[in-house]
Amino acid sequence: MARVLFAWELGGDLGHARRVFEVARGLRRLGHETAFAFQDLLALGALGASAEWFQAPLIASPATAPTRPPLSHSEILVYRGYGDALSVAGNTRGWLGLFSLWKADALVADYAPGALIAARAARLPHVSIGSGFSTPPPRDPMPALRSWAAIEETALRRADATLLAGVRGGLERVNASAALPANASDVFRVEHNVLCTWPEIDPFGARADAEYVGPQDDPSTGAEAHWRASARPRVFAYVKAHDPRLPPMLDAIARLPGEAIVVALGLAPAQAAARSTPTMQVHSQPVALGPLLADCDLCISHGGPGTVAHALNAGVALALVPQHLEQVLVARQVVSTGAAVMWAPETPPAELPRWIAEAAANESIRKAAAGSTLRGRKSHDAAARVAAMLGA
């Protein structure tokens, strides 16, 4: 029996918390004890008295706000404050304090770079879990996030140097006994990397030094929704209500022949009802994806790895409307297999109806999705793999 602390520091939405809860449940089933250290405690508040949790040590962002998007993973961390030795020192002390307070035997990190820095310093066994984006392949220099854009190597090296100075300086201040990182890439090096996704949709492409276990959420759970008629095409959309493209998207989907089910997360229930039509159900809460995707022609999504994996698992083609970089990277992978089209961000929103109608009628992506290598692939139990890696 081991005491396993789960850490989540960066990244928004509930995806990280959900994955962590799923893996933690699995570890508890195997007889281990778990606790959580999250940057945002909101999701933990729902667990009540049965769970134990802590605030993840926070790090102050630099005083001057960045003027452009980050170039590399090193720069993502620099933008979050990891280029400042005093911040790293404080953050690391916070993590070391927590490890010893809770007497953790091991750490499971879901996009938790500070926890990983501290775990290496404390020689605490650790495993990374995630969907790929948070554990980029370590390279020297750390590669550009947008491989398709022209970026000078010196800029990448500068970001690496800033990160390295911050992390080394911070660790020196807390008298960490373990070896200091020699390169920025060492900050991203993880002993055990459990990817809750598949190589085909890994944002950085298939890699050998990670173990793919597939998505950990069960697509058959959740509120039920049903196709009402037999008209085709059947379009399922899973999008965020705060996306400014939602209204034109809903207009376009409503005009499609066939039938549509839209989950617009965060939409007011009254608005969802108001936007529904005889051929388009609009939901504001998540629904069980499995039964819907089992008989569906197109899935419209932002490109979250979970939805993408479930759609391809059911052989359903995708029309992807990414909101952020991680989703763009996933979308590019799926597009390269021929099973999806991706909305180009610079296109005017007025083009959306035509683009969606074309996607719904696109035989080529439908055929590629039907033949996807992911079709019918079963996920492995991440908790069992994590336990095995930790020797627990």
Partner: protein, 409 residues
């Protein structure tokens, strides 16, 4: 030897860390074990003695201040820091309870940290509050507003308090703890170290066992001599994000005053432009203990440094940046020992502000105030607070007065 945890949840700047560290040093010197449960951990770099303490991140609302208005009372601050959502508050309270249950303090010293107070209350832990008066409201029902410069919608405040109480109780129940009858219970403690004097209390007078004088630590930093010559001796301690920084420096440069300025992060160009034989720019904090005895005016953002300077008879020109500093500035103004300029002030107001605050009558009042509390000493204050905390830990009933010279063990 006892285990003593310090909790800091809300507010910014270095004052919280510095004050807690000063008190912790006194307790650590008596062999007690210290834990810092702090909102910001970067600032540990300014208190190297914390190397020997246990250090933890304090729970902190991820949506702090979202949609919050200018606060009129304590419940408005709570609302903006997680108390408007029972689930979020359960997350925060659960985080504090885990820290405290695991570390098992014999005493929790609560700086600006209502959720730490709530956690200690729910776990039945001994606790004291330690702050400048703003951090703990008088325990009435409803809690009194602190805003006195604008009309207050009492009904709205009462509704906010009801919502905050309901969410607090939802969080307590979710974690298996007993709900509160009144929100004021959250602020029950074994002792309140209200570290100010009644004239400067943000809430005005309150029922308390005494005022302990401001939390100041002026025995650290570099000794800096005042520049030679004539002219008023003005100490400037502001941040570079002060909107009137350039006009302020230009105005001071146009006078004959002797200036010592500590402006962290001031760029080289500004420094070169401003510095002269009569104007010294320091790059490290200034040791204020002796320095302030000779000072005619403090220019700062306000807060505890300005009330501390007043103990030396030094009036203040204040540029408040948040509500607590503003409330202190208004108190200084009421006492006639300070002038303040808000964030929207324009440069043309500077000459009059300086003339007003350097008016000899104001200086006289400041000196009179200092004489009223001539016996106040920050070191003696801390010694008494340490002694009182030890009394409480040992369960002794004797009440140690903050101000009398009797009763010191």
């Amino acid at each position: 030897m006892a285990r003593i945890a310090f909790a800091w949840e809300m507010g910014g700047e270095y004052g919280h860390v510095m004050s807690c560290a000063a008190l912790a040093a006194g307790l650590a010197a008596h062999g007690h074990r210290i834990a810092f449960m702090f909102r910001e951990l970067r600032q540990l770099s300014v208190v190297p003695e914390a190397r020997d303490y246990d250090v933890f991140q304090a729970p902190r609302c991820a949506r702090e201040g979202v949609g919050a208005d200018v606060p009129a009372g304590y419940v408005d601050i709570m609302s903006g820091c997680g108390y408007s959502d029972p689930r979020e508050l359960t997350g925060l309270l659960g985080g504090w309870r885990s820290l405290m249950s695991r570390w098992q303090p014999d005493m929790v010293v609560v700086d600006f940290a209502p959720t730490a107070l709530l956690a200690a209350h729910s776990l039945g832990l001994p606790r004291v509050t330690y702050g400048n008066g703003f951090f703990v409201p008088p325990r009435s029902t409803p809690l009194p507003p602190f805003r006195f410069d604008a009309p207050i919608d009492v009904g709205r405040l009462a509704r906010t308090e009801q919502a905050v109480l309901a969410n607090t109780n939802a969080a307590l129940v979710a974690l298996g703890a007993k709900p509160l009858l009144r929100l004021a219970e959250l602020f029950d403690a074994d002792e309140h170290f209200i570290c100010t004097f009644p004239e400067l209390d943000h809430y005005g007078n309150r029922e308390t066992s005494g005022y302990w004088g401001p939390r100041v630590r002026f025995d650290r930093g570099t000794d800096v001599p005042w520049p030679e010559g004539t002219g008023k001796k003005i100490f400037v301690y502001v941040k570079t994000n002060l909107p009137l920084l350039d006009p302020l420096l230009d105005h001071l440069a146009s006078t004959e005053h002797r200036i010592v300025a500590y402006i962290p992060g001031l760029d080289e160009a500004r420094r070169r432009r401003f510095a002269s034989r009569k104007r010294v720019v320091c790059d490290r904090p200034v040791r204020l203990e002796r320095f302030l005895r000779d000072c005619d005016l403090l220019v700062s953002h306000g807060g505890e440094i300005s009330t501390g300077a007043l103990m030396y008879g030094v009036p203040s020109l204040v540029f408040p940046t948040h509500y607590e500093q503003y409330a202190t500035a208004r108190r200084l103004e009421q006492l006639n020992v300070g002038v303040w300029l808000g964030p929207g002030a324009t440069a043309d107001l500077l000459p009059r502000a300086f003339a007003g605050v350097l008016d000899p009558r104001r200086v006289d009042i400041a000196r009179t105030y200092a004489r009223r509390y001539a016996a106040f000493s920050p070191m003696e204050q801390r010694r008494r607070i340490v002694a009182r905390i030890e009394e409480l830990i040992q369960g002794r009933g004797a009440i140690l007065s903050p101000t009398s010279s009797q009763g010191t063990p």
